[in-house]
């Protein structure tokens, strides 16, 4: 069959959503969503965080029930009360956060849920044979007896895909699959997707990365505010157009940046190393110097030591070996300094995972706005906390950083992601730090707030702050940084001036030590 014939015949949509509605309380997550995914295509669903794309696909997969609307698979209306029903209809979903049991082997993970009998052994043997067949058909190779938790991320994703294929999926939904992959691994994934398409599978890619949509898909659907606002053939559109459709207005993808004027070294590391509890090397001989008035970006796929580096530099963890110098204070394994002391020396830290570190359960926005600084005047006087002063401070922060709603007494967790992040960034920068460590500044933040945060960081830099930026978004690192360090497997494997950096070379650096794990 020729290509033209295929497209002409493929009027039968593999998956169709008609008028899907879904509310979570007051949030209208899906509004009259209509999607028609043609069979044998690779379609992308793109939109900002909170646009409703994951919700819609979770409904297809049976994880949620729609309030109204219809789902049709191959033209037949279906109802998916749970994932089992979806799987029975040949739909498989690979989630952003892998659903693997780390302590099980790959085989046990694959077999979970379809063990074929009360005793395990026959099911395991059958699965082993099936995996071999899949390796033959799609080139997806994995060691069935490896412990899932020991596998590198790209392989773990492969196990997830195999889980889906072994259950006979013909429609695969992948939710933000490349968030944890290097550019090279992403290429490998796209090759796998192409192989799937060649075998007649339908692939749906949920992502917010414009680059991937352009590279891998045939069709793209744009979602915004819970509805599908546009449908384009990928070949007929551009990144700019898609960005505009995602946000609803013209979006600047570049920032106006004046060249940096770096001053004295504010924070430095020499031969910094760290070993984890189980003997795994987390940081390996890190050396760098961060100067006032510059932004140094650390590029690298998450999980290569960036988080640990921030934890050590901020004082949350003591260094394992080596030296960190902050404001002429030497921090060594023998003389570590806690996060509170680092803060007193002028270091501020916006953690990568704000829910894990920077915010606390039921604390109000006011209490959150002084987290870590509650002993400073005027928040505490003669040992007692002054809640009035704290509320004032919070209000000032909210005004300056446009945090909405302006209610300091409201529980911080109830604010939207973007406002939470603005509150945390506001708190950390309000103290006019000499050094700012900031990780994933725009994770979970909508585009409008992203622009705002980026401009704030540049303002800080121009005022003389030394900023260390960790981000998994290469675009963000390249746009903001003056210098880029690439980390891989706990080491700094390269340094590039921002003006000379490009995705390809950075990607190669990021994959540096991992060449042994080829396709």
């Amino acid at each position: 069959m020729t290509m033209k014939a295929t497209t002409a015949v493929a009027s039968e949509a593999a998956l169709e959503l008609r008028g899907i509605e879904k509310r979570f309380g007051a949030v209208h997550a899906n509004r009259d969503v209509n999607l028609k995914i043609p069979a044998g295509s690779i379609s992308g669903i793109i939109g900002e965080n909170g646009a409703g794309k994951s919700t819609a696909m979770n409904i297809v997969y049976g994880l949620y029930q729609p309030d109204a609307g219809q789902i049709l698979v191959d033209g037949r209306p279906v109802q998916h009360a749970n994932p089992r029903a979806a799987i029975a209809n040949r739909i498989g979903m690979v989630h952003q956060h892998f659903m693997l049991v780390d302590r099980f082997t790959v085989l046990e993970n694959v077999v979970l849920g379809m063990e074929q009998g009360a005793l395990l052994k026959p099911g395991l043997d059958a699965a082993r044979a099936a995996l071999l067949a899949l390796e033959r058909d799609y080139g997806l190779k994995v060691n069935p007896d490896a412990i899932a938790g020991d596998l590198p991320v790209g392989q773990r994703q492969r196990v997830e895909i195999l889980k889906v294929l072994i259950r006979g999926a013909r429609i695969l939904i992948l939710d933000e699959p490349t968030a944890v992959l290097t550019p090279q691994e992403t290429e490998q994934l796209f090759r796998v997707l192409a192989a799937l398409k060649a075998k007649g599978c339908t692939v749906i890619l949920i992502t917010h990365k414009l680059r991937e949509i352009m590279a891998a898909t045939d069709l793209v659907f744009v979602m915004r505010g819970g509805e599908v606002v546009a449908e384009r053939r990928t070949a007929d559109t551009t990144r700019e157009e898609l960005a505009e459709l995602m946000v609803g207005r013209k979006v600047r993808l570049d920032l106006d940046k004046i060249p940096a004027k770096p001053g004295a070294a504010a924070l430095s590391a020499e031969h910094l190393s760290l070993t984890g509890a189980d003997g795994v090397t987390l940081l390996d001989d890190i050396n760098f110097a961060l100067h006032a008035g510059e932004i140094v970006g650390i590029a690298g796929v998450s999980g290569n030591g960036q988080s640990e580096l921030l934890e050590v530099l901020s004082g949350i963890r003591p260094p394992g070996a080596g030296l960190v110098t902050l404001a002429w204070r030497r921090i060594t394994p023998q003389h570590p300094l806690g996060a509170g002391a680092m803060r007193k020396l002028g270091l501020s830290h916006v953690p990568e995972d704000r829910h894990r570190f920077a915010m606390c359960g039921p604390f109000s926005a006011a209490e959150t706005s002084v987290l870590g600084r509650v002993r400073d005047r005027p928040f505490a006087r003669s040992g007692l906390i002054d809640y009035g002063a704290i509320a004032d401070h919070c209000m000032k922060l909210m005004d300056r950083y446009d945090v909405r709603p302006r209610r300091p007494e409201r529980v911080a967790m109830h604010f939207s992601g973007g406002n939470q992040q603005k509150l945390v960034i506001g708190r950390e920068t309000a103290a006019i730090p000499k050094v700012l460590l900031i990780g994933q500044p725009t994770r979970g933040v909508d585009i409008g707030a992203i622009e705002f945060i980026h401009r704030q960081l540049l303002k800080l830099r121009d005022a003389g702050c030394a900023i260390l930026l960790v981000s998994a978004e290469l675009e963000e690192v390249m746009a903001l940084s003056d210098r880029i360090l690439v980390m891989s497997s706990g080491r700094i494997v390269g340094e590039v001036a921002a003006a000379e950096a490009d995705e390809k070379s950075l990607g190669l650096l990021m994959a540096n030590v991992r060449q042994g794990e080829a396709a």
Partner: protein, 370 residues
């Protein structure tokens, strides 16, 4: 985040509902053994509040529950479940008793009593500090270790009382009586002295200590920077570290304070009532403290109210077992268990019953998420 109920409903209605459920269940048990629950309640209330002697006893019991309730609560705020109140209370009594035995020859209450109170606090704190250290430095689960330490405390007390501290010519494992200086003044004596006629009861100065402890805990937990770090440890230890707190330090201090508070039971019992060292004076207060803390939502106001309830239960229960012999003292233990069950484990069971009327009848502002 389930924010479907306004905060006051969360803090007051739900706990009240849970307690009500516990009592309904207790009533069913009473029915099951062939007694009349309503007669039982009447007998209890009469026995607990009928005259000034009864009220005195009720308050005296409540004092102990306030101490152990505060002890459990302060540890809970730091994310630690201190089940060792029983053992810490025993050790606190030991501390008070040892100080009394050593110093009562001076005849000076102003020397003996403060020393004994301090000693009780230190002993209780020390008994809690070991499990705390094991948790902080070795990661040993504090629930298991504190349970073990309860058994160890019991064995230690028996050994000491039988072999070391037994008073001369005593048949039962008790020490000699303390001198008059080692006695806490009775509240009934004070009230009678200023012209308010009340019958005598064991209620003593410890009540005022308990009140002071409530204020102290309230200020510490909610109005000091250390208290904020403490609460952060309970909600999110990683955030506490980020904010500059030292988790080990907080664990040790929280548990030490907890043990010291539990040790105050020893002050009430040994210095206030028995005036000699003996065994089993702390029985039931440790676990009762857990119930009190849960019912009181770990807040001093709630704890006082819950402790009063348990005081009524205990005094009323004793009188009840005279009035209605089929109901034994263990019924009080069963009720405590039911309260812990409904207030601490089945906490969310009653929630939907309130969410429905609130959703239907109370207008809510829409969640504003921009």
């Amino acid at each position: 985040m389930r924010a479907k109920l306004p905060r006051w409903a969360d803090l007051v209605l739900i706990p009240l509902a849970n307690v009500a459920l516990a009592f309904v269940a207790a009533g069913l048990v009473v029915l099951a053994i062939g007694a009349d629950p309503f007669a039982a309640v009447k007998a209890m209330l009469a026995g607990a509040l009928g005259d000034s002697e009864a009220i005195g006893y009720t308050l005296y019991y409540a004092t102990n529950y306030i101490f152990t309730g505060l002890a459990v609560a302060i540890a809970f705020h730091a994310g630690l479940f201190n089940i060792g109140g029983e053992g810490q209370a025993s050790l606190g009594g030991l501390g008070a008793g040892l100080a009394a035995l050593a110093l009562d020859h001076t005849g000076l209450g102003l020397i003996v009593l403060p020393a004994a109170i301090l000693s009780a606090a230190l002993f209780g704190a020390a008994w809690a500090a070991v499990p705390a250290a094991l948790q902080a430095w070795r990661g040993s689960h504090i629930v298991i270790t504190t349970i073990m330490f309860n058994f160890l405390a019991s064995a230690l007390m028996v050994y000491l009382m039988v072999n070391v501290l037994i008073g001369p010519d005593n048949m039962s494992p008790e020490s000699r009586d303390f001198g008059a200086a080692a006695s806490l003044p009775l509240i009934s004596d004070w009230l009678n002295a200023i012209g308010i006629p009340v019958l005598q009861s064991p209620l003593n100065l410890s009540l005022l200590l308990a009140a002071a402890a409530c204020v102290g805990v309230w200020v510490l937990v909610w109005h000091t920077p250390f208290g904020q770090e403490l609460r952060m440890m309970g909600f999110n230890p990683a955030a506490a570290v980020y904010a500059g707190a030292n988790p080990r330090r907080i664990t040790m201090i929280a548990m030490a304070l907890s043990g010291a508070l539990a040790g105050m039971v020893g002050v009430n019992e040994i210095l206030g009532v028995h005036h000699r060292l003996l065994l089993d004076f702390a029985e039931g207060y440790g676990f009762g403290g857990i119930a009190v803390a849960l019912m009181g939502r770990n807040h001093p106001v709630g704890i006082v109210l819950a402790a009063l309830l348990f005081g009524v239960l205990q005094q009323g229960g004793t009188e009840l077992s005279f009035a209605m012999p089929q109901i034994t003292r263990e019924m009080v233990i069963a009720i405590q268990g039911l309260v812990i069950l409904f207030s601490g484990a089945l906490t969310n069971m009653s929630r939907p019953w309130f969410e429905w009327p609130f959703a239907r009848f109370v207008a809510r502002a829409p969640e504003s998420l921009p």
